[in-house]
Amino acid sequence: MSVFDVLLQQVINGVSLGAMYALLALGFTMVYGIIELINFAHFNVFMVGSFIALWVFEAMGFSGQSQVLYGLPLFGVLLVGLVVVMLVTGFLGVAIERVALRPMRGFPGTAPMITTIGVSYILFNIILLTIGANTLNYANPMPNVRWEIGDATLRLREVLLWVVSFILMLGLHYFVRYTKMGKAMQATAQDQEAARMMGVDVDRVVVTAFFLGSALAGAAGMIFGLYYNYTSFIIGYTAGLRAFTAAVLGGIGNIPGAMLGGILIGLIESLGGQFLEVRWTDVIIFSILVLVLVFRPAGIFGRMAPSKS
């Protein structure tokens, strides 16, 4: 393989990973933009999402990667999976907000963040105790269609992943930009009190942000399973931290920034794994996290929502 092909292959891999991180990063960034909360529960909403999608596929009669579909049936199955997982994780996010976080709204300091660590632990251990520590083989109806570009391979699942992520991000962008609720979200992010006085129902805005963020995390969870053909209770932490790094890199609170940050982290992971050593990848990513927060806390693209403290 020539250097160019290696590079191309790693860019394909990196963009795929990055699209997934971007979906996950959006949830962090939306919640942080609106109520300045780092939501650790998000890590494991993603993990739960991958299990829910697995159960949906299994309920539709798939197991392993042997039964594949083509054309419209494939799209149908994937769409059902996506819709169900997004609804379930979306409402999981809403439930977390209502039960654990709304009573603490407006508390100063880090108490709400500590609560999200607790919620994250609860989700993590419920899955661990009920499913067990084993890695599960993912039910995956996608055919192993691939295209050769030089020595690099582009697989159908990557293209689908890109398309799904792109559509979801575009949808979110339009939602935030052009709908009434989206504008209410922007207003709340700028100044919660002022938004409230202008008639914005801040509680609904926050719930909506949790719903959307968690739904996107669920979608990312399903994509993770389809991409890697496995899922496990443990996937939330690493992917979550990487996605969080992506959100920070793009400027936390900044929606387009989170998308770009996700892609960047994906590329860093794949290219770093290729040209350095895989075992140092996490050190690189966490160093980026630390360095960006210390030297450019507004992220490389700057912050969209002003800091309120």
Binding site: I38, M104, T110, Y121, V283, L293
Partner: protein, 680 residues
């Protein structure tokens, strides 16, 4: 008079607490607990239980260390286990078979010191070095190494606010175990260190027995409880709490927050380093998995459960969770298994409840945060409210001139201006908040700054006190240029302030709030606070006496409440407390930002009197005030600001007649109406 049993019972608990709080009782209780801890191995001879208890002491010391960082200084550290790891590997590397350089004469002096041994293996031509530095030496050395890492990591990151700092520490906490895993030369990677040495004491080798480690662990816990309590109740501890409560206010009261945050980080890391050494010596190995995120979270759960900031609480939290894990859940699992066999329910036969410990951690975190954030043993016990009689006692006015010592010791040249401001400017984006401001305050005068809302008055105060850095111009205090100095340095030089929207330390007592103000005028360091030298004792006593004197200015408004938390005060009393806190920094110039806001006419009158009293005791005053009757009453000079510019300056009477001022306040039409009314 006889008391009914009910009354007696009701009275008992507060009296009991009162006693527990008293120094003597606390010492007594501590002694009993230490004796119980020492007697424990005699009561429970089970080796497994003892081992678990020995491990629990290690987590108690870690929780104590994390409590300094999170509980005292309010810096959420999610990667605390990293410092534990650093301490562990520092000891592990220097007293194990991990690194074995070839023997050369270079090592001879170290051999003579007993740090290394010459190791000869049959059939191997070259001898090697065996590191065997004494545990007792490495215990403080690891603490220092970990503290050094704490400072090195903290220096660039500690200026980040709460949640960002949490994430940065989390990142650091991830990096350290990965580095340990990826550098097998130093750490033997995931396999774990080779044969770390157990401690020896007077020829007695601790080996793998739990008993000596248990006693060593108890000794460490007792030592660190002692250090924590001494620190907390000192100048250093109060500065930490002040930072936790309100960073900006702490700095405006003279606390150098960067330095004190670093100190908290270093002390916390030092505790962890020491524990790391203890833990490795006990296990005689160390693997990277012992120091990952779940460990940091477990320590956080211990603190949250026991009571953030409460020394007794975190120890109880740590012991409870450790013993829950290693004693109770194991026993419970066996009982459930027995039940399962009895009822032949397969699920019950197989379930391992020890595995669910993290689920329990998560539930504890959420429930404690939602329903009992102060923890099982709160940092503060409730103080009995004042009785109706005490509350309604007629306020006695203080400020009796001449009865007290002057409030500051600086000599001020009465001929020269005390504060001289030239061309001070500040813009926020496109808004020019303060523009080319000139102002002179002569010693012993009261100068009022007035102006419509948004005219730049508070920004002006922030510029003078260093909270905001000016774009241009100069601020000179008694001939010394202080432009752009840090807030804590400006306090030290003699300018103190109050805040318009009140920035007290809500969860500290009145006494402690005011004591924070003595920070720049005292010099007790961390070591002094722990050793409590005669100098420190004397200084503390003097500071407390001073507080009583300053609280006395406000008669019996604050004095009877001095052991109450600041958050329980009424609005007017909060204003008074802020002034008291500012006065005790011994300022030559006091900046009061709307001191009478929210006070009723009687209270306003009282405070006006007291402000004048302060001036008579040698403090010059610059105040922002909206109540013009107050301004007319006490100010010798009035400055009027509008859109950041000075539009008038003079005596209150002059300013009232000024056209520009009328226009700024009332608008053009109203001004014309006023003029017409005056003419007719």
């Amino acid at each position: 008079m006889s008391t009914s049993p009910l009354e007696h019972a009701r009275g008992f608990l507060p009296i009991f607490w009162e006693r527990v709080r008293s120094e003597q009782w606390r010492r007594g209780v501590a002694l009993v607990l230490i004796v119980l801890a020492c007697a424990f191995p005699l009561i429970d001879g089970n080796e497994g239980d003892l081992d678990a208890a020995a491990n629990a002491t290690a987590f108690a010391t870690l929780a104590l260390g994390l409590n300094i960082v999170v509980g005292f200084a309010g810096l959420l550290d999610l990667g605390y286990a990293a410092f534990f790891a650093i301490g562990a590997y520092t000891y592990g590397i220097f007293s194990s078979y991990q690194i074995q350089p070839e023997w050369s004469s270079f090592w001879e002096p170290f051999q003579w010191l007993g740090f290394v041994a010459r190791m000869h293996t049959e059939g191997v031509p070259i001898d090697h070095v065996h590191f065997q530095v004494s545990f007792w030496l490495m215990l403080p050395v690891s603490a220092v190494v970990a503290a050094f890492f704490g400072i090195a990591f903290g220096a660039p990151t500690l200026r980040l606010k709460g949640d960002y700092l949490a994430i940065v520490t989390l990142g650091f906490g991830e990096i350290v175990p990965i580095v340990a895993r990826n550098t097998p030369y130093l750490t033997n990677g995931a396999m774990g260190l080779n044969g770390a040495l157990p401690p020896q004491l007077f020829g007695y080798n601790f080996g793998v027995k739990s008993l000596p480690f248990y006693y060593l662990g108890v000794a460490l816990v007792v030592f660190l409880i002692f250090v924590s309590t001494r620190l907390k109740d000192s100048r250093i501890g109060r500065a930490w709490l002040a930072i936790r409560e309100d960073e900006i206010a702490a700095e405006a009261m003279g606390v150098n927050r960067t330095k004190l945050k670093l100190l908290a980080f270093a002390v916390g890391a030092g505790f962890a380093g020491m524990t790391g050494t203890f833990y490795v010596a006990k296990l005689q190995t160390a693997t990277p998995e012992m120091f990952t995120f779940p460990v940091s979270v477990m320590l956080l759960v211990m603190i949250v459960l026991g009571g953030t900031g409460s020394v007794a609480g975190v120890v109880v939290g740590a012991l409870l969770l450790q013993l829950l894990q290693s004693w109770f859940l194991q026993d419970l699992t066996e009982w459930v298994h027995a039940l399962g066999r009895f009822t032949s329910i397969g699920f019950l036969e197989r379930i391992d409840l020890v595995q669910s410990i993290e689920l329990i951690f998560g539930i504890i975190l959420v429930l404690m945060m939602l329903y009992r954030r102060q923890g099982l043993i709160p940092e503060r016990m409730a103080v009995a409210a004042l009785t109706h009689a005490q509350q309604t006692a007629v306020p006695s006015r203080g400020s009796k001139v001449g009865e007290f010592k002057p409030l500051h010791s600086q000599t001020v040249d009465s001929k020269r201006p005390l504060l001289e401001i030239r061309g001070l400017s500040k813009a926020f984006g496109g808004i020019q908040a303060v523009k080319g401001l000139d102002l002179t305050v002569m010693p012993g005068s009261i100068v009022a700054v007035i102006g419509p809302n948004g005219s730049g008055k508070t920004t002006f105060f922030n510029l003078v006190t260093g909270l905001t850095r000016p774009d241009g111009g100069s601020v000179t205090l008694a001939g010394e240029d202080i432009t752009g100095e840090g807030p804590h340095l400006i306090v030290e030089k003699g300018i103190a302030r109050t805040f318009q929207n009140l920035r007290l330390f809500p969860n500290m007592t009145l006494m402690e709030n005011v004591l924070v103000g003595t920070h720049t005028r005292t010099d007790t360091g961390a070591l002094g606070a722990v050793l409590r030298t005669p100098h420190v004792r004397h200084q503390e006593a003097a500071a407390r006496e001073r507080v009583m004197e300053v609280l006395g200015i406000f008669g019996n408004r604050l004095m009877p409440r001095r052991e109450h938390l600041a958050k329980t005060l009424s609005y007017a009393n909060r204003r008074r407390l802020e002034i008291a806190r500012a006065i005790i920094t011994e300022p030559v110039l006091l900046l009061l930002d709307e001191p009478t806001a929210g006070m009723n006419p009687t209270e306003t009158l009282e405070l006006t009197d007291q402000i004048r009293g302060l001036r008579d005791r040698g403090i010059s005053i610059l105040l922002i005030e909206h109540k013009l009757n107050v301004v007319n009453e006490i100010a010798e000079k009035v400055i009027v600001l509008d859109h950041g510019e000075k539009i008038a300056e003079g005596s209150p009477a002059e300013v009232h007649r000024n056209e520009e001022v009328l226009r700024a306040y009332l608008g053009r039409t109203a001004t014309a109406a006023v003029r017409a009314a005056a003419a007719s």
